[in-house]
């Protein structure tokens, strides 16, 4: 603990926090962009999962730069909770899409589960990956 406090005392802490915030912003923006551009729910889950892990966790680690014990404790709690519950949430949403038999709109996706989800053929043209 004292080693961490000593490491946080250096002048580089502010720049490290800035770098982490910029990284988190970039990943979160790409996550929202991925939600826009991905054709169906199964692929949108990829975008949001990465946005949570690299984006929000980066913001929480950057909050260590304030050198406040109360903030650091709460940030650690939120990080632990998000790490534990994001995969569960993604699994439940994917299972909901699967049970509702939502089609796999990614061109060339193959349904290997045997449930007979409707697919889109691979040779649908270059614009097939877009929103509609």
């Amino acid at each position: 603990m004292s080693a961490l406090a000593a490491a946080l005392d250096s002048e580089l802490t502010a720049y490290a926090a800035d770098a982490l915030v910029v990284l988190g912003l970039a990943v979160t923006t790409l996550g929202v962009l991925g939600l826009f551009r991905m054709p169906d729910t199964y692929t949108q889950l990829h975008a949001t999962g990465k946005a949570v892990f690299l984006g929000v966790i980066a913001f929480l680690v950057a909050s260590l730069a304030t050198r406040d014990a109360a903030i650091a404790t709460r940030a650690f709690l939120i990080a632990c909770f998000l790490i534990l519950t994001t995969p569960v949430g993604a699994h439940v949403i994917a299972r909901a899409a699967y049970r509702r038999r939502e089609p796999m709109l990614t061109p060339g996706a193959v349904d290997e589960s045997g449930a007979g989800l409707p697919e889109r053929a691979r040779d649908d043209g270059p614009g097939a990956g877009a929103t509609r």
Binding site: T48, G55, I71, R100
Partner: protein
């Protein structure tokens, strides 16, 4: 600590909320709407975390933790009800 970076990041996240709301209104499937709502909750959590760092008070992180808990439970309940017709 450079506050200006955190403040600009908070503003950027607040601007990112608008495309997320457009996504909620525009999603074709119910599952897409649930996923967009979950992402909106995460954007708000990130916003609260960054604002708590800017003001150097721990209160907003409590609100962020509550949002994470309730948002997770809400996504679970909504997705399960959407697919199975019941929650438990």
């Amino acid at each position: 600590m450079h506050e200006i970076v955190f403040q600009i990041a908070t503003l950027w996240l607040a601007l990112l909320v608008v495309p997320c709301i457009v996504l909620i209104l525009r999603a074709r499937t119910g599952t897409g709407k649930i996923l967009a709502l979950d992402t909106l909750t995460l954007l708000l959590i990130a916003l609260l975390v960054l604002w708590s760092d800017t003001e150097r008070v721990p209160f907003f992180l409590d609100a962020a933790l509550l949002l994470a808990l309730l948002g997770f439970m809400g996504s679970l309940a909504a997705a399960r009800y959407h697919s199975e017709g019941r929650i438990f």
